[in-house]
């Protein structure tokens, strides 16, 4: 593994990132009647070569975070720092350079690939737009090489997306993301829509590419088994906030936040004998609306440990162990031994 979790300068840093969307009423004269707090004060770092998993259920804000990092949304407050500089301050050339270095792979390759473009155009387009290659034969040669790296035959270069299987399309999406030799790739549910046998192939490919090209991934997913397999560190989100952040194996073996515990308990393991022995903790209720979040700890209405303090106190993301933070006032704080 190339990761060094204690690398001094993070490649990506989120500083108290907030993204609130106004809720408007009225047809002609619109007035703002509320705010949806999609992301509400998230701080994170991502070191070079590291894969950070960002997990949580629908509406927790994980995709809004990825849109803020990709400069598709402007944060309401806080900042996204890439290689130490705030991406909101970038001028045009700096933004272009930033867009070369940060790429994304999305869930559904059928809707994220242009159906009217052939594989050669899809994968070659970033090279032309960013002026990396200009003559057609050089682009074609580079596209063939990228297809080969992603396990695709060069014969596919003239195909359209609909002429390929789901797994092949996802490989094309990965080849396009790699075309500009990025530093950071945002994998937003990148393997979620794939069948089991194909999903395993794509996970292997992402791991091989990470090692070969020294890539950094922000891996957004809802399948916690996949996240455990691929990620060095994991951040768990609930209703726009981080509730737990830790080294991956530590988080999965000894989750501290009650939400993380319930989330892991809900994921079945493919082994009937283990499943028979396991405690199945079923979390009651549903995620509340982010336009009217609960007071205090946002998780308290569903939490088995919650009491009156939890309705009043907004918990901080405190250290609960080595390289392990959780936002819950009910967790016993360990006495940390000096590192």
């Amino acid at each position: 593994m190339t990761a060094d979790p204690h690398h001094p300068a993070p490649l990506l840093e989120l500083r108290d990132l907030r993204k609130h969307f106004p809720v408007r009423r009225g047809a002609l004269i619109q007035r703002t009647v509320g705010q949806v707090r999609a992301v509400d004060g998230v701080s994170l770092t991502l070191s070079r070569g590291e894969t950070l998993g960002l997990v949580g259920e629908s509406g927790c804000g994980k995709s809004t975070i990825s849109r803020c990092i990709l400069k598709l949304e402007d944060p309401t407050s806080g900042a996204v720092l890439f290689d130490g500089s705030d991406i909101a301050t970038f001028d045009k050339p700096q933004t272009a350079a930033f867009r070369r270095r940060v790429q994304a792979i999305f869930q559904d390759p059928f809707s994220s690939l242009n159906p009217r473009m052939k594989v050669e155009e899809i994968v070659g387009e970033p090279l032309i737009v960013h002026g990396v290659e200009s003559d057609r034969s050089a682009v074609a040669a580079r596209v063939r090489q990228l297809l080969d790296v992603c396990g695709l035959s060069a014969r596919l270069i003239d195909r359209y997306p609909h002429e390929m299987s789901g797994g092949q399309r996802q490989r094309v999406g990965i080849a396009r993301a790699l075309a500009l030799r990025p530093d950071l790739i945002i994998c937003d549910e990148a393997v979620s829509a794939l069948d089991v046998s194909i999903q395993a192939q794509i996970i292997r490919l992402l791991e091989d590419l990470r090692d070969e090209f020294d890539l950094t991934y922000l891996f957004i997913g809802h399948d916690l088994s996949v996240v455990r397999h691929i990620c060095h560190r994991v951040a768990v989100m609930y209703l726009g906030k981080l509730v737990e952040l830790s080294d991956s194996d530590r988080l999965f073996d000894a989750p501290q936040h009650p939400y993380t515990q319930a989330l892991l308990s809900a994921v079945p393991v493919p082994d009937p004998e283990i499943e028979q022995r396991r405690q199945h903790q079923i979390l009651p209720g549903e995620v509340p609306s982010p336009s009217n979040p609960p007071s205090g700890c946002v998780f308290h209405p569903r939490c088995p440990l919650a009491d009156e303090d939890c309705q009043r106190t907004v918990p901080d993301l405190d250290v609960v162990g080595p390289d392990h933070r959780a936002a819950c006032i009910k967790i016993d704080r360990p006495v940390l031994e000096p590192a």
């Binding site: 299987s165 046998s197 395993a200 292997r204 979390l283």
Partner: protein, 330 residues
């Protein structure tokens, strides 16, 4: 025990632009009263087509049930006329689909949709049906059921809509419910709520449940028996514990080796099955899994293996199933 549902050599064909394909190719499986049976497979394996055939919901054309029998409580559902099959749907066999937003009618209230089947099949009056709908909504854990009857599907969350679907499926007390990917569209904590609810209700009411899924974890947690499908056929069948501990088909072994597991640390070996699932229009010769199979021999391309017993109540459709079962080939 006599089977409640017995599917025998079901063949379903679809006409496509590139030729006719067999979405179900001599599928057989059975369900006993009160048990939970899983049908597991990837896209195009034929698991949904088989389930839809049970209720005769295959669109014709382009689809066509070209052969086989589907015996439910002893009578062949494929021989029923339209009138008779309508009496089976909802009354004798309940169905729960993946996306409750598309299977509920968006312009009818929840109450109207719930009571329709009860009035038709059970002959209840409007007031009786409303009362039963309220009881059912309470049973599936929906708060304030009286006011929910007046709500429309878009007023409810995905989890709530799936609870309504379960209530509807149970409303005429059918002995069998077929659930096709019932929780695939739901978040993981809601998925656990819904599956736990389905299991509890079926066990309590003695309803048999067929769960169709691609998720091997769900199968392990809930199923008594498992049918594994590939390219339109059941290629392995057995008790859940058996199948996971001693798989008898190389495809099942491959599936189990390709799922990442929550209880295994980062970087645990993952052994994907090479290649892609076959094109049903032009299946490979012999065993359909043979081109992707790590233990195939020359003979595997010559003939199609049938299901053979490898242990008590455990069958596999592989010429080398005995060796696969004994773990001699890994």
């Amino acid at each position: 025990m006599t089977a409640l549902l017995e599917i025998k050599d079901l063949v379903v064909e679809f006409a496509t632009e590139s030729g006719s394909l067999r979405a179900a190719n001599a599928v057989s499986y059975d369900v006993s009263p009160g048990e939970i049976v899983a049908v597991v497979g990837e896209s195009g394996s034929g698991k949904s087509v088989t389930a839809l055939s049970v209720l005769r919901l295959i669109p014709e054309p382009p689809g066509r049930i070209a052969g086989g029998e589907i015996l439910f409580q002893g009578s062949d559902l494929l021989a029923l006329d339209d009138e008779a099959i309508r009496r089976v749907r909802g009354k004798s066999i309940g169905m729960i689909f993946q996306e409750p937003m598309t299977s509920l009618n968006p312009v009818l209230s929840i109450g109207r949709q719930m009571t329709e089947a009860m009035r038709l099949h059970l002959g209840l009056s409007a007031a009786q049906a409303d009362q039963r709908a309220v009881d059912l909504l309470k049973m599936v854990g929906i708060a304030d059921p009286e006011s929910r009857l007046k709500a429309y599907p878009h007023h409810l969350s995905g989890g709530m809509r799936q609870r309504v679907m379960i209530a509807m499926a149970l409303s005429c007390e059918p002995p069998l419910i077929i659930a096709d990917e019932p929780t695939t569209a739901l978040d993981v904590t809601i998925q656990a709520q819904i599956l736990e609810l389905m299991k509890d209700l079926c066990r309590r009411l003695g309803v048999a449940l067929v769960i169709i899924t691609h998720n091997l974890g769900i199968v392990a947690r809930y199923a008594d028996r498992v049918n594994v499908m590939y390219a339109g056929s059941v290629i392995e069948r057995g008790p859940a514990q058996e199948i996971y501990r001693h798989p008898g088909h190389p495809y099942t072994v491959g599936l189990l080796n390709s799922v990442p597991r929550l209880d295994r640390p980062r970087g645990s070996p993952l052994e994907p099955i090479p290649g892609n699932p076959p094109d049903l229009v032009s299946l490979p010769p012999g065993c359909p899994f043979q081109p992707r199979c790590g233990v195939a021999t020359a003979g595997c391309a010559d003939a199609l293996p049938g299901l053979e017993a490898v242990a008590a109540q455990h069958w596999s459709a592989c010429f080398r199933s005995r060796q696969v079962y004994e773990g001699a080939l890994t």
